[in-house]
Each structure stands twice: as C-alpha cells, then as structure tokens.
Symmetry: D2
Subunit: 385 residues, 4 copies
C-alpha cells in the first residue's frame, strides 16, 4: 500500500484555554553561553510561542534540550546553550500548556487516517516482537521519502564489515534511498580498507580469512588517504573505486564524519571538534524526514538529540519525522525508543541482515510496481529542503 502522510492538526488557538493565554516572557542573555533563569527548554514536539503580535508562532527546525531565541528578524530559533550570545532574547517558562505563552503540541498527528494508523505507537521493543510490518511500512515509507523527503542514515562501522551488507547499502545509495550519511571515522576507515584491500580490520569481509599483517590494513588505508589529502581526492584519483564512501561521494550524498576520541588517523574529512560536528550534523538533521540509525549508540543518540518529531515543509505544512533504530541490544534501542513519539521505531536485529533485507525488499517492490527510475533523477524530484 502506498504511503501517505498523516494529517497534522494545529492547536485551536482561537478557543479556550489557549485563546486567553498570555504572551511568552522573554529574558535577556546576560552572559554568552548562559541561559537566563526560568528558560524554557525544547522538546521533540511542535512548540508554539505566543508573541507580542498576538499570534502563536510554530518553532521551525527545532531540536530538544535547546532554548528558544527570538531573533531580530522576528523568527524563533532553537539554540544550543553554547550558541547563546549576550543580549539574545530567550523564551521563559516551563509550563507547556499555554499558561506561560508556550504550547507544546504532543498530539498533532491524526492517527485515524489512512497511512497514519499503520504507524501506531509501540512502546515495547524486544527481540521477540514481530517486525514483518515494520519492514513493509519501511518499504512504503522509503519509496515515498525517496522522492518527497530527505532520508538520513546514521551508520556504525558494522555495515562495512560484511560484504553483502556493504553492497546492499551501496545499492541503496545508487538508487536514491540515501540523502545524507552521518557517521564517524571508523565507518569510513573500514569501508576504505574494504575498497583497497577487501578486508575490515585485516579480515576478509567475505571469506573472513585473516590477512598477513592484517592489523596494518586500516592504518595503510588511512595513510593512503592522508597522503592524497582527502577521501574525495582519493576517489577522484581512482585510488578508491567502490564501497560506501565512494558511492556517497559519487552520488553527492551529504555526509558528515564526526570525530571521536577512539579515532586512529583521522581521515582528512573527519571533523575533530565535536561541537562543530554537532552543528554540521544538525544542519543535515534539520532537513531529515526519515532517519535510520544502524548499530551505533554514539551517533544514534547524538542524532536523536538533534532530530525533532516533526518537520515544517513548504508553506507551513507540518509532517512527522520517522526515526528508526536498529541494534542488537534492547538496552541500546530503548535509549532511543524512550523519545515517547509515535514516530520512533526500533528493530532488534543484526544490521547486516537489516540492510540486506531492506535493499532486497525495496528492489522487489520496485520491480513489482514496474516503477522505472532513471539514473539519479530522484534528486531533482525531491522537495527542495
């Protein structure tokens, strides 16, 4: 069944009790990087602020655990504490029901409509939960998002350790199901090691045979890339001819590689300052309509922090943002599932199987519907973010 977006229903600001709510009080930042007392902190939900113009303004491009700044332009922005500047005007108030001029809208999406009820709220994620429907919904969703949305994948290194999974991910990149990639140094290193040597950490990604001096492989991959200056140049020069990073750069998929203290190297494109990396990730996350995070607690939680449950598209239409977490561990998955949103899904499995299954499922769907998609046309068809 084709996917359709659930309808968003804005709050009734013309009726009680919201009609009678005061305007939000703004407090001034006295010290750079420090919020004034009683600051309001953002959630993952759509939030409205009652401003002096008498209207309730929806915060666009939100993320949780930020403060809301009324910019000089008159627009509202969710800002991280570290980005607060002296003089910034910050929304104050912690009541979320309008009494402080702030309304957090937790029930905006009508679940009774077609398409929407399929994504029902499910709280219990265990390895024994059925997930046939999750795959089927995901195929529908990804076919929709491929043209109308912005699909962000968050990858731990595991995807690069297995031949089939790596190839399946590359195929999805090539067929337009990957619009942005968030990952770390390790994913790129092991993928490039695979491209250069067919191994990951010295082990053949198909036969599993350990190469002689295999522990040099990832360091050699790093060294080769550092010697030419960047992953991009290594690809342009033909040193790297396959794999995830190759596909991502060839298909002009947006990519942020964030550094961590675990890193060897690092690869030139990796951003060493984590707060700059977070800003770059947020620039991607702002546009996300579906996020799929695979086998990485660090990057999955970081992205979960940056992605709200909704996105404003076009002229103020509000749509949900879907967030999938795939991991082997109930513990890891529940960290993200606790977002309390209808749009958070978790699948407990090995990401190798997940990626291969999704890629094959999408192919079957497309063949089934005789959908003909030429080259990289999807990119133009996509709603410009």
């Amino acid at each position: 069944m084709a996917f359709s977006l659930p309808t968003y229903k804005a709050p009734e600001f013309s009726e009680r009790p919201l009609r009678d709510c005061p305007c939000v009080v703004l407090g001034k930042v006295r010290k750079t990087g420090v919020a004034p007392e009683h600051y309001h902190a953002t959630s993952i939900y759509p939030e409205y602020f009652h401003l002096r113009d008498g209207r309730w303004h929806l915060l666009r491009e939100s993320r949780m655990d930020c403060v809301v700044v009324l910019e000089k332009s008159g627009t509202l922005a969710a800002k991280e504490f570290r980005h607060l500047r002296r003089g910034d005007l910050v929304a104050l108030g912690r009541r979320e029901n309008g009494e402080d001029g702030i309304f957090v809208h937790t029930k905006g999406f009508d679940l009774s409509q077609n398409g929407a009820d399929k994504f029902a709220f499910r709280t219990h994620f265990t390895r024994e939960a059925s997930f046939s429907i999750d795959y089927d919904e995901l195929y529908d969703l990804l076919q929709f998002e491929r043209q109308k949305g912005f699909i962000v994948w968050v990858l731990g290194p595991a995807v690069s350790f297995d031949k089939d999974a790596r190839e399946a991910f590359v195929a999805m990149v090539e067929r337009g199901y990957v619009h942005a990639l968030l990952a770390g140094n390790a994913l790129a290193v092991h993928d490039l090691e695979g491209a250069l040597f067919g191994t990951a950490l010295g082990q053949d990604i198909y036969t599993k045979k350990t190469a002689a001096l295999g522990h040099y492989r990832h360091l050699d991959a790093i060294t080769r890339v550092r010697s030419v200056g960047s992953i991009k140049k290594a690809i342009e020069k033909g040193a790297i001819t396959g794999g995830i990073m190759h596909a991502v750069l060839k298909e002009k998929v947006e990519c942020v590689l964030a550094g961590s203290i675990r890193d060897d190297g690092p690869l030139p494109e990796v951003i060493g300052d984590v707060y700059e990396a977070q800003d770059r990730m947020r620039a991607v996350a702002k546009r996300a309509t579906t996020v799929i995070a695979l086998a990485t607690q660090l990057h999955a939680i970081a992205t979960g922090n940056l992605v709200p449950s909704y996105r404003v598209i076009g002229r103020g239409r509000v749509r949900p943002v879907y967030f999938y977490t795939v991991d082997m561990s109930e513990f890891a998955v529940n960290k993200l599932a606790n977002r309390g949103s209808l749009t958070a899904h978790s699948i407990l499995t090995n990401v190798q199987d997940f990626v291969v299954t999704v890629e094959r499922g999408l192919k079957r769907r497309v063949q089934g519907s005789r959908c003909k998609v030429q080259g990289a046309r999807w990119r133009k068809e996509r709603v410009t973010p």
Copy 2:
C-alpha cells in the same frame, strides 16, 4: 558453488603408536544406572575402541558425556548413565590417545579439499562478524542436505511470533528443507494460536495489534486442541489449516515436542518426562547431518548435547554434522560454539531475519539453477537413515 562433503581420513591403526596399543579394558556395571570407576566418557568426535578381535571399532551414533557399552551383539553403543543396566560392559580409560585402547580422532576431516576449506574453523563469534559467506555456504549445504542428508531444526517460540518468519519456515518445510523439528510446548502453542486467531500471546503477528482478551488466546488454542485429543486430530478435522505444526504434520516431518516446567496446558503431543523426551530427541539427533537451532537456549543446548560432530552413513563412510546456532546474544551462542569443532557455526542475529533470509536465498538459488523439484520427491531421494 555446489557443496561437497569433506573427506574423512581414519586413523592409521597399522602404524605406531596405535599399532602397539592395548585392547580397551571393560568394566562391569554393578548397580543399574551407575558407571564403574574409570569409565570413559564420550566426546563429540569419532572414537575408536580396540577390542579383543584385534580391530579398532568406530563408535557409531555417539553423543557426548555418555559411557560406551559393548553390547552382546558385539556392537558398541554410547549410553546415558541412566540407561546403564547391571552387568553392562563399559569401556574404561581416560587417555584418549590409544594408550587405554581408546582413540579419540579429533582431526579426521581433511580441510584442504574443495568444499571443506569453506567451512573453516572460526572461534570468534560477535555481532560484528561478517556472515555473508555463512549464508552462501548454508544455501549450498541445505540444497545438498535436502536430498542427501537429514536436516534437523530446533525452534524456540520466536519464529512463531512473526508473520514473515512463520511463513518462511512453512515454505521451507514444504520444499523439503526440514526433516525433523525439535521444539517445546511454547512453539507449538503460539503457532497454533497464530493458526486459529492470527495472534501470538494475543498480539496480531503482523499488525501487532493487541486483541481484546488477548491473554486468553493461547489458553483457548490449548483447550481446542486438548478437546479433540491431539494436534494431529485438530489438523485432520480441519480446525488448524496453516502454520508450522500444520506443515510439519502434513509433510510428515518428524517432530519431538519436549515438555518443560514453564508449560501451560500442555498440548497432547508434548512429552512430559524430559528423559523420555531426550531419548526421543536422540533418536532424531542420531540421524542428523545438519542441525539449525534458532533462539532457544534450552532446546539448542539439549540438542547440542545429543549431536556428535560426525555421522556414519552407508557402509562406514564418515561425514561431518554441521551445527548452526542463531541467537541475539553472544552469551547464548558461545555456549554452543565452545564445542570446539570445525562444524559449529554461530550467527548473531534475530531469527526472524535469519529464517526469512534463508528461505528467500534458497528460492533464489533454486530459481537460478533452474532446479525443478516436484512435490515431495525429495523424501525418497534422501539417503535412508
């Protein structure tokens, strides 16, 4: 690539040191159920016993942690302690190198040949291990075993909780990839609940919607079966028309349902005495050439105890027995992987994905090779056990 069995090389009994080894000493059982002192206990490997006739006799149909009895017929049998009878003659000696007339042959299979080296010994099983090759090998193996071997599946209830996995397993039963099923009451109960109501523990196995009074579903399924007398009769009467148990009985797959203290009901076919159940499982396990255990510690370990690493087929040919364990937990999987045999494989993933992937992979293979298999012909073609 087609699968071929690795060659087995028997020990050189005509050469030193084995040539000069004494005959094995036999001790008499003085008390039923109690082995004499210095009894030899079996391993998972082929074991040879030097008898009075001057020849080394291979123990057929072995299993680990048993004692070896020389029967009046002159054949050797691996017997559980509880089956020892007063007067039984038991092999004594704990040296495994022949010095006690007992030789445990740990290196019988030549790994340098075609087919064999693919199944190299792998000790480290983590969720990040590549397993593309394991799937590919498994497709080859199952196609071979389907006609020439005896494939035993050991199932926890998880397979019955998910629509796609359940259907994939049924398809494999129908296409001859399942020769025996070892499971417990729960697998059968939830499968029958699925057949009757479309749910497992009251939750729809596709939509995940919780049924009203859903907690009655599995009890109602049990009651219906108990009321007609058996699962078999429920199927014959048309009360059960689909699912795993239906396919298993329709296709005359051998099936042992072993009881446990967790059981509700139980279903009529479930064997309440665990030692009788173990005996029945061993009767199946003796014939196994490939075992695949999915998401059940209890039944997987129990079966692992019963299955040796080799099987004697036809006129004394020895072949390996392959043992796959699929589970989400490193802990569970490593319990079985520690068998120390070339033939133990572990795959860390959700069994739902595993079963669906294997079924689809087998179908692709068969289509690819234009293999035409009619009906249930495979059963006749199989080597009679």
Copy 3:
C-alpha cells in the same frame, strides 16, 4: 527502617456496582483435562467469585492461567488444565469487573502507608537504573520474611560457579534466609562438583585453573551420588561436606529439583516429569511470600507462572508476594517484569555480585541492630504456612 506489610483493602462488595452483580456461572467439565467454553482464566491478582451463598469468595492459593473450580467442599481452587476432571465445576466469564460474578482486584494494596510506598511500582528496568534502594529494601524485607514469611530462592547454576557467591548463599541458608530452593539438575551437579573437587565444569571455582581431565568432574560427581542412591545419602555418609545442597539438606530447606532435556545424569532427586515437578514447585510457591530468582530464565519464568501477587495468611489476611528477578539481560528480566504488579522487582547485575552483596548487607544490618539469633530458631518462629 523496619519493614511493615502494606495494608490490603478488600473490594466494597456492599456498594455499587459490585452489590448488584450476579453470581458466577459454573460450567461442567465434559472431558478430563479440557475446560468448558467461556472458562475464566486466573491472573496474578486477588480474585473474588460471587457464589450462590450470596458472598464473594476470595480465591486462595491462586496462580495465573488456571481455571477456577468450585470443589465439593465448597472451596475454590485454581487448577491447571491438565488437572481438570470430568464433572468439575468451572467458573465461566471473562469480564473481570464483577459483571460475570468475578472481580479481579488489581488495586488492593494501599501504597500511601509506611513501608508500602517504598515498594513503588517501577516499570523501566535497565542496567543504568539506580538500585541502592532495592538492596536496602531487600535487607529490611528479608529480615522480616526470615521470621514472618516464606522465602523461596530460584537458582540457575551460575551461583555455584563462583566461590564467594556459593559461600554467601550457604551463609544465608544457615542464617535462615532461605526457606525453599527451586532449581534444576545443573545447579545441584555443579554445586556437588564443587563440594567434591572444588571445581565447576572442571574449572576451579576460585583460581579458575582448569583441572586435568576436568570434563570428567561433573560426570564423576553425578556417578558418586548415583552410586549411593541420593544426594541425601551422599551427605549422610559424609561424601559431601559443604556447599549449597549440603546446607539446604542440613537446614531442612525445602527443595525441588526439576528436570530438563539438557540434563546429564540425572541426580536421583531430580524429578523427570516436568508436570509433576511443576506441581511440586507449586506446592512450594503457594506458601511463598518473597521469591528471588537468580540467573535462570527457565526456572524463573516457571516460578513466575506459579506465584500470584498475594498470599492469604492466617485468618484471611492478605499480603503481597514480592518477586525479585536478577539477571544480566534486559530481555530476560523484562519477561518477568511484565507481570504488571507492584511487587515485581528486577535487578540487572551479575548474580555473583548480587548474592555476595545481599549476604554482606544482611550481616551488617544484623550486627548493626545487635540482633541475636540463635541457631535455627527462626524456623519455629516463622508463621506456619
């Protein structure tokens, strides 16, 4: 702070709507072992049945997933399906609010009182949950239960693998904190192996050194016990002088060893028929006021099935039954935590640490309160079950 039992508040049967509810309809069992249609199935909560005498009768000694039989003596009994006899009168009706003459009382315990609110309902169990308070509460609870209750421990083999944990458990047995033990063959085998050889599965339980021919150790332990006829006799004869089974038998702790298909041996006291074992476990579980299940999914879930959330003591007083599950895996623990009762606690840790910590904590408490307890006097002081 000393522990005190929360007050139980019975339903208001003299008021609406319960006042006007009909009597429960009873259906006759037509076939042994088969419940009549519309049978009511029990929960873990106190349940009341409106009988012909016009009164609501509380079901004593309940367990979940049973049917309720009105015995000829006029008392109600929760019976397993397999125990239904032709002619038994079974309560019918699935509405739990009284409309069918059945009232399931989910909110009987007043949490606002002293002692009671400490055991607040907690649903989320993760490894990162704080559990200082759980230990403190448990010390209070166990000191109370030691004299006034009936403490049932359910043990997987892990406790016998570690010297400190094994000794700590023995100390708790000796000091009266263990009134019954539910376990399997493996716990007893490895404990006896420890008593005889200082090893578990051939590995020293303190130094971890692997013994020569260590894989014979557990078989030798089984053989020695089988040769004298029983664990009891082995202890009486002085063959076993320490460890868990020794303490349990010496202190006359009730003990049920239930068989499973994994068992080697088995030891003579192990019950091979799982439904007989279940009945024996239920006879113990009926009297339980606190259950602590350590590192065993099989036995923990089996016991969880048998233990209701309440127990009727003395002349109709109702008290809660506390149920602790301790395991390393969120998955395992949540299987039991889903009982939905205020009295289910889960602690995610290694049971070795848990047992040692509890034993030391209890000792500190007792020393702190200068509590003097002589010998085995506790057993007499205990409320006779």
Copy 4:
C-alpha cells in the same frame, strides 16, 4: 596476600638471533601527517629498536597503532599519524622478530614467580565466569598501586546514577585509590545534577522518584556551572559540595573530560576537540599502571588504544600495566579483552555493584591489616611519574 610486581626479563640481545640483526631503517616523512611507506606500527608490547649506536633501545611511553619517530634528542617516541611533521625520521619494517631491527617483546613477564602467576592469562570472559579471585587480586593490586603506582579510572555516566555507587567512588577518591579520571561530559553533568538536586536525568538517585520538571535538571546543572565559568569555580564558590567531580577536584585528581557529539552544554572543562582530548588523555595514560574502565565503550576503547601493556618506571625498570574492563555486555568487554595481553581483565557485572563491592572490600582489607593511612599522605608516597 600482598601484591608484588612480576619480574620483567629483557630480550637476550647479546645472543642469536638478535645479536646478528641489522639496524632499523628510518624513513623520512615527506608530508606532514603522512607516514612513509613500510612504516612500522606499534603494538601494546615493549618494543626494541636497533639503532646506529649498536644498541637496542626500548620504546618508552608507547601506545598501539602509532609510528616510531627517532627524535633529534636521540630518544624514540610513539607518535600518532596526525602528529608527524615533515622531516621526522620514522622506523620502517613490519617484521617483529628483529630481522628489521625491530623486536616486539611479547613474553617479557615471568609468570612463574610469586604474585605474577596470580594474574594468569584468561581469554574467556562470560557472565558465568567465576570472579571471586579477580576481586581479591584487585584489592591487593589497588593497595599496592595506591602508593607505588598510578591508578586511572575511566567512567561512563552509570556510576553517577546510583547513590551507593557514587558514594563508594567518592570514598575511593578520598582514600587515594583514584589518581586520574577519564570521562565525558555526561558523567560530570549527571554527577553535578546529583550534587545540586539529588537526581540524575530528573530521577532521584536513591528513591528513583521522578522530580517535577525533572528533564530540566541536567540543563539547570549545566547552566549553573556555565554561569560561574567552570566546575572548579562552582566548587570553590560552594555551589557544589559533594559527589565525584567535587572529590576529584578537592583531592587534586587529574581529570580529562572529553567531548562527544552527544553532549548537551557542554560543561566548561570539557574538551571539544577530540584529538586534543586524546592527547590529554594520553598524557595521563602514559603514567597509568592500572586502568579500570567502567560501563563506557567509547572512553574504554579510547583509553585501551592509548595504554600499552607495560610501563617503564624509575631507571628503566619495566612493569606491567593492568587493565580492567567492567561492563554488562560480553560484546563490549570482549572488544577490549582481545588485546591479547596477560594484563587485561574483564568482569561482567553492573558497575554499580562493582564499585560498591570494591570500595567495601578495600575497607575490609585495610581494617584487617590495621593499615593506618593519614589524610592524603599517599600522594607523596607515590612514585613520581
């Protein structure tokens, strides 16, 4: 038993085959940050380099996956790739047996001596492994290291979530068992939240009660600290009067807080550039003699990368560095256990229990040995790093 260091035995350079080995070839760095071809990469073991002066020089302050630079001063240094400067002279050669003038000494520590054999090499870490001896060894080791070594703790946030664990860790800081702390923003944030509000993520760290507006607590803690400028100032001003960070700063424990993309805030002391943070961590890791990493994959693996298996103390004496990993997951623990060194230990348990048990165990030991330690005297007694 008191702990004593195992003896280190240097290689026999005056004997064959090492006597005849060539000098190591040095290659020049042509491009900053890029190693020359055939560079040698370091391991965790002591490595010797045969230099032009005819002597074999031990690399001091090593870490794995670095290149070895002969500095102008004539000393050898293990340098990360990113720190290579144009013109640096780098050791070339990948044979580790001396044939390239490089000898990697994997068997330097004599395990037959007192003290040493206790730390035998153990490869299998499962939740069912006995670990009484690990605790006992750790008490001995920590008492030794407290005065003679440098104990580095690596902490995930979990330790701050539980009252008893947090207090136990503070007690160990105060009694001199913590010489350095490596952690991230989250550990500090939740510890400070605990100091200010008694909660972690809004939940009371003892009663587990959720505070009203609890999700503001960690943001409020961050804001308070940012408003005064640093954690240090917040403590000096008396705003923070307890907890881990308070103890660490009061006792002048070295502390590196490394940033990650998950961070809120961050706290002022947190280092945003991960490679700067890695350098700062390495400055601490260089001096480590024992490392204990608790419930953090990111920081534990990062530290594992930085810490070799040996340390050179005083005038060229070589001693082992002990590395403990404590986590709930076999997967996490085995990532570090695969270091292949005699000195890597893993304990599978909840770190809350671990910290509490270690603190109580150390206290018992010290009381038992009537050891009198005044104030912070230990710091002077310690071997100056």
